[in-house]
Symmetry: C2
Subunit: 274 residues, 2 copies
Amino acid sequence: MDVIRIGDADDPRIAEFHAIRDRDLTGRGGRFIAEGTVVLRMLAAAHAKAETGDFVAEKILLLENRVAGLGEILEAFPEDVPVYVASSDVLDRIVGFHLHRGVLALGRRHREPSAKDLLASLPEKALVVAAFGIANHDNIGSIFRNAAAFGADAVLLDAGCCDPLYRKSLRVSVGSVLSVPYARAEAVDLLTTLADRDFAIWGLSPAGTTEIREVPSHPRMALITGTEGEGLPAHILSAVKTARIAQAPGLDSLNAATATGIALYEIAMAQKRL
Amino acid sequence: MDVIRIGDADDPRIAEFHAIRDRDLTGRGGRFIAEGTVVLRMLAAAHAKAETGDFVAEKILLLENRVAGLGEILEAFPEDVPVYVASSDVLDRIVGFHLHRGVLALGRRHREPSAKDLLASLPEKALVVAAFGIANHDNIGSIFRNAAAFGADAVLLDAGCCDPLYRKSLRVSVGSVLSVPYARAEAVDLLTTLADRDFAIWGLSPAGTTEIREVPSHPRMALITGTEGEGLPAHILSAVKTARIAQAPGLDSLNAATATGIALYEIAMAQKRL
């Protein structure tokens, strides 16, 4: 394994890793920072099928003492993905804070399928999650993690959702943003396309009419999930079938990630896909 | 509403709010910091039944411009709970960082029931969650939030769990730590007491033998949940019945909060308590 030592925090070869915390809010050019061993492994897996998939790895930056332990993952990347290493001091100066785990990579989403194309590519029996208006990075990450855990085929994002490639979303997803195909479109277009493709569309809402356990199975199921506080807007809820998760009476509501997890589990079990 | 203006960050009357972020790790004397409007409301509710309940409010500290909007909640506290107000500058100097929301209270757990007494007080039909070895503040908070959402009667904590009154746990629980009774004991004692009280004890594990949807209902159900990475230790799993949540094959696992939420939903539905 050839590694390239970086001694100067201003070395242009690792410029993309500069002050990553501040730049977390940009997400320009389809590039993103993958952080930690698990996400690095997912990036290697995504890169390995880059010809048909949506992601490539561009470079890796590691704390010098992490290289030995990562051998197997690093070897999964092709040789033209450079591996840079730095001391803890230099690495902290590059990223702008103390990077405890010392594992970073720069990836790029080199293909962005349209929602229409993504839905056209799905199998006859399918499960998709559509997230509407979810701007919270943790919640977007959780939706991908749950989608992966319960074998969903795709995630759809409306224009109000944040970018799942934000560093924190990617980390919370445990890298699932790189493994579950996703696409973005306007909410109305997503609903229309789902209906055209014969999906049964269910919106999740505390005011839903059908308990999630009782939702009838259908070969193609779409679950729409909204924000934790506001939920899905009325014009969406009136356009789709609605499901609720029974809860004890009171002020509280479920965490968005938990609600989506319960709903996906129920639908996936009803579809016998687990 | 009489409020007491604080002009000096070192005023001894509000000393307990000093540098709360650093002291978040202590939790001494049963005192805790409640933060935000929702948790303040839960503290008011807990204080209102302090004679039989476990919590009292000791003092409240607010950003001056928050007082007007909190009238109804503040009036729920008795008059001998002082309400201090401060400007944004003074408040930030007190707590040691910029406190955006400007709503704090000091509470105290004035009664700590033993696990035996708590279990003895539960109704004939009961659901409890036992958390084993959960040191993550978010995850403990989530367990309480889910316990409240699905109407669990109590939470039991083994010696390896962190204090649910940590500021972050309390916030993540949306104040449910103040509404769902809990007690702490050694894991072995918890199992013995649960068995003595005729609880069906189910450990949640990816290697569990029964799918959580198929777990037979019983009037008294106890769900044991462990840490996200390690799960429950082998000596616990071998002593109880075990349930799993079906997932797509792969490296990933569910987030601890989501797993507990799914399991509690299933058990609560099977018990027809929702």
